[in-house]
Every structure is written in C-alpha cells, then in structure tokens.
Symmetry: C2
Subunit: 156 residues, 2 copies
C-alpha cells in the first residue's frame, strides 16, 4: 500500500476543488491560493526536517538541501539538474515531476500544467523562507512531465 | 523525515483555507465540501488497495478491511474498537485519532473538532461505496483525541 499516494490524491482534489469554485476570470486567484497553501506547508516541512541539522554553510548548500532531501521526501526522487548563474538565479530541473505524470503529455494539455505547479512552487518558497532565503519561484513546462523551477533570490 | 506529515499538513491547510473562505453561516457548506473531497479520495484509495485482493466475503469483512488495512495506511494505526448492532450500524472507535492529536484537549476546543472529521468521514464513505456498501458516516468526539465514527448502512 503506497503511502505517498495520499498526498498526491489530496493535492489533486484541492486543485480540482479550487478550480471548480473559482470563475473563469479568477484563475490567477486560484493559483495564488494554491501557492499560499504550499508556502505554509513548505515552511513547516523545512522547520521539521532541519531541526537536527547543522546550519547550511551558504545559499548553494541550502539549494542542495532542497534538491536532495526536501525533494526526496515530498516527491520520492531528487531533482535531476541544478543550475545557477551565480547571481541569484537557480534553475531546478525535474525530468519526471510527480504531479505531472498523471496528465496526458499531449500538447493540448499543457495549459492544465500551471495549476499543478502552483502548490509545489509555494512549497519551495516556503521552505527557503524558513531557511532564511527570500525568493520568487516560478515553474515552466516545455515537455511533459519534465519541469523547471526557477528561483530568483530577493536580496534584502 | 516523516512521510505521513505531508498528508497531515496538507489536510490542515485545506481545512483552514475552506474555513477562511466561507462565511460564518456557511459552516455546513464547508463541512460538506470537505466530506465530498474525502469521498473521492476514499474511493480512489479503496480502488487501489483492493486491486489484488480477493473479494470480501461479507459486510463485516469489508468493515474489518477499513478498520485494519485502510486505517493503517491513512492514519498509521488500526481502529481500536469495532462494534455493530448487526442491523446495519457499525461504530469504529479510534482512541487517538491522528487529526485530533494536534488540537488542545480543552473542552473549549471541542467545537473545532467537526471540521477535522469531515474529510475522514467522507473517506470512509468513499472507500465503502467503492466496495459496494452504501452508507452514511458521522463522527462524534467525547474526549479528545478519541473519536467514534458511526456507519449507518443504507439498504437499497
């Protein structure tokens, strides 16, 4: 009996519910709500996971934690590729993102992708905020179920 | 890193979100929404879990599945007590219900309990519906975090 399926099913239902309860012109609001739910979950998770860790030595070290431990716990795999321009932009690529593997990969379904990426974006932002890194997180899909999360650090 | 916490955190956020977005006089609607989200999750879970099982031999056997395997997967423990009047009413008692353990057990917080029980009630109803048993499920808390789920079978 797979455990992780519970989180996945509940996530799908939330997305469905928020979408049904919002009007067509309120799609942005629906995405924003999912993002903020994700933010709080990410915060709590990072708080719990790092309780017994030593402090991360720098920003890159924090990103590696997100790509490995955090991703593994939430999505049962690690991020496949991490890139940075060393100027505050990080790109995390997941070649088989769990929340997209159930959507048909036909091009016509691409527009369904953003609503399944909002909560995950929020979770990254929440986790990093909890670890002292303020950022903006966006997601981009070119070929399903691959997905890129772009993290733009906000310097105080 | 605890896996199960993900489902728990997401559930808490959903309850919080639905409550914030509904007016005071719409509490029933909020409960109904949580119940219907739970119903669909319960259906999917039962479908997956019983795929490779042999057919249950009767209603009681189906209930035992819910009390043991289903409960264990979702809440990491089994139901502590199962009773029936042999006339279509089953009472499942959980002495330490996972979604209530985070709420203070003071009497003044009792009114917060129903909204954390709506999705679980829906999940039971959904799982049983998928297994061919139509029912109404209600929950009752007398002393937190103990909780009783009453299942009333609806005969065709």
């Amino acid at each position: 009996m797979a455990d992780e399926i519970l989180f996945e099913l509940l996530h799908m239902e939330i997305v469905g519910h928020l979408q049904r309860s919002s009007q067509k012109d309120e799609q942005d609001q629906c995405i924003a709500k999912l993002e903020s739910i994700g933010f709080r979950i990410g915060q709590s998770l990072a708080e719990r996971f790092t309780r017994d860790c030593s402090r991360f030595k720098d920003e890159l070290d924090t990103m590696k934690f997100v790509c490995k431990d955090f991703w593994n716990t939430v999505y049962k795999k690690q991020i496949d590729n991490l890139r940075t321009n060393h100027q505050g932009v990080y790109v995390l690529q997941d070649n088989r993102f769990r929340f997209l593997t159930h959507i048909s990969s036909g091009k016509q379904y691409m527009e369904a992708a953003p609503k399944y990426l909002a909560l995950p974006c929020g979770m990254i932002r929440g986790a990093l905020a909890n670890l002292g890194v303020n950022c903006v997180v966006t997601a981009e899909v070119s070929t399903m179920p691959a997905c890129k999360f772009q993290i733009q650090i906000q310097r105080g």
